[in-house]
Amino acid sequence: MKFKSIELRNIDAGYCDRVVAGGVSLDAQPGEIIALIGPNGSGKSTLLKTITGQIKCLGGEIRICGEELGSMKESEVARRISLVTTARIKPQLMTCREVAGMGRYPYTGRLGLLTPEDERIVEEALVLTDSLDVAGCDFEKISDGQRQRVMIARAICQDTDIIALDEPTSFLDLRCKLSVLRILRMLAREKNKTIIMSLHELDLVKAVADRIVCLDSEGNSVVGVPGDIFYGDFIQNCFGLDAKEFDPETGHLNIIF
């Protein structure tokens, strides 16, 4: 049997007993890129928060690297899953290197000082994400694209099996979108990490995802490979579009006025 980094058994995700996305089942292996798609409000972020232990799972079972999420300590979860959110952080006066270095949190001692080994890992993460040139800059003074790469560097520093990202390409220009996706693909293929992320751009999903979790606004979910999801009028139904408005071959919208 293959090692599974994420196992979801019929889980319900939501807030305060109100299920937003229900009955999601998934097995994810190391090296796999999983994309969560669906219209706004379909529960992509909620599902990600549930898988990463930020909010309570309302039903079903989540296993992270074989262990049940509910029974893991916060510090154990932190060594298994790292997170990149859409929240804009305001770490006053922190340099990009310090923000990335914060990812070493689960491994540092009582005072949180970085050892030379930690420094080496941070350096490597900055190189991998092409952020070395901004390493010494104030985090609040760099561009959105650079910021996203530094946040990914931070997640790499956390040295986890799984990296979860909420809309990592939103607000970025085309070149930055591509660079972020290249980094994520490299992390999956070369570092054998499981990448699970929500994405809005379906053309990017088609290009990068190994498997897709598709949520609709009624709270249903379908898991499939891109070939199954991008077929016929499945996407159009899920997003509430007319059949002609979307081309499953390319993942592009046909804009009809």
Binding site: T52, G53, Q54, K73, E74, S75, E76, V77, A78, R79, I81, S82, L83, T85, A87, I89, K90, P91, Q92, L93, M94, E98, V99, M102, G103, Y105, P106, T108, R110, L111, G112, L113, Q158
Partner: protein
């Protein structure tokens, strides 16, 4: 540590020592260096009791405890402000503007009036307990508001209003209290370090050192918390516990200050910002001791000015801190708007 941080620490320590010396010499009774040294030596040799001549008594019974109070209470206020700023993830936060100091002031006034009225002597520790309860009450109120409003400015306005209500009630109580003991309360409620005795110094140093060490031990999770609650949690920080500890520590620190010196304005809000600017870092491991030193330094300066500029009359310490530090806060707010 970086070079810049080491230089900043060295300068702050030197300044604190220099200001401490100035505080020993300054005042309505002018004393020579020899008087001071012999007063100090005499005091330490004979213990807190039985200091002979006036000069020695002034040094050992009045100026020295007052100077120690300025150091520890200034440090406490500044660290309390730093913790609150971290908690709200906003530089415009402090125990005074959020109404926490005024809450403490109100309960201390009530405790003094009730207990003194009943003929019971209230100890320094008792004052701190009363102040701590008051600051927790005010803090609870501010937190309850903060779950309903998103805007920090609304929260600050609410805090200031709470401060006004508490001050008004305190003034009301003070005005109608007839006991002569209570008349002293008026002085205290304006903010002053005068009348600090050795018993008070003992209680405040123990409390402030304990709270400071606890805050310093939280440097690591506080650093993670600077990236926001979600990231802190994802790195394994028990954010619920951390938030609770931050609230308790900052309330305890500002309550200690209020119990002994009354409400002191703007130190908690402005000093952490100034220290951050000087040190150019946000690392709590450096900033927490830095804020303590900065607060100690500034309160020594302000207390020295409060009691020497119009000597023998004394100005309330809040007036001095407000004159120096309120403009700093205004500049900070303008800079934030500009960004």
């Amino acid at each position: 540590m970086k070079k810049r941080e080491i230089i900043a620490f060295t300068i702050m320590i030197l300044m604190t020592v220099l200001l401490a010396c100035w505080n020993l010499t300054a005042g309505s009774l002018s004393l020579s260096a020899r008087d001071i040294v012999s007063g100090l030596l005499g005091g330490f040799a004979s213990g807190t009791q039985g200091v002979g001549d006036t000069a020695a008594a002034v040094i050992f019974q009045i100026r020295l405890p007052r100077l120690i109070a300025a150091i520890f209470l200034g440090g406490a206020l500044s660290v309390s402000g730093f913790l609150l700023q971290t908690f709200f993830n906003n530089p415009i936060a402090g125990p005074y503007v959020l109404g926490i100091s005024s809450g403490a002031k109100l309960t201390v006034a009530v405790a003094m009036i009730v207990l003194l009225g009943g003929g019971v002597h209230i100890s320094s520790a008792g004052m701190v307990v009363a102040a701590f309860l008051g600051s927790l009450l005010a803090m609870g109120f501010v937190l309850a508001i903060s779950t309903r409003v998103n805007s920090m400015s609304v929260l600050i306005v609410c805090g200031i209003l709470v401060g006004y209500i508490c001050s008004a009630v305190t003034d009301f109580l003070v005005t109608f209290a007839d006991d002569t003991n209570i008349v002293n309360l008026h002085n205290w409620s304006m903010g002053s370090l005068s009348g600090t005795d050795w018993e008070g110094v003992r209680v405040m140093t123990i409390l402030v050192i304990l709270a400071f060490v606890a805050a310093f031990c939280l440097s690591k999770p506080i650093g993670a918390y600077q990236l926001g609650e979600v990231y802190a949690k994802s790195m394994g920080v028990n954010t619920r516990l951390l938030r609770l500890l931050i609230i308790l520590l900052s309330s305890l620190l500002s309550a200690t200050v209020t119990a002994f010196a009354g409400p002191v304005s703007f130190v908690g809000i402005a000093i952490p910002q100034l220290v951050k600017l000087v040190m150019k870092t946000a690392r709590p491991l450096v900033l927490i001791p830095g804020c303590f030193l900065g607060g100690a330094m500034v309160l020594l300066l302000c207390d020295g000015i409060a009691r020497s500029v119009f000597a023998p009359a004394e100005v309330s310490i809040s007036s001095v801190t407000a004159v120096f530090l309120a403009p700093v806060v205004i500049v900070m707010m303008m800079k934030r708007r500009a960004n």
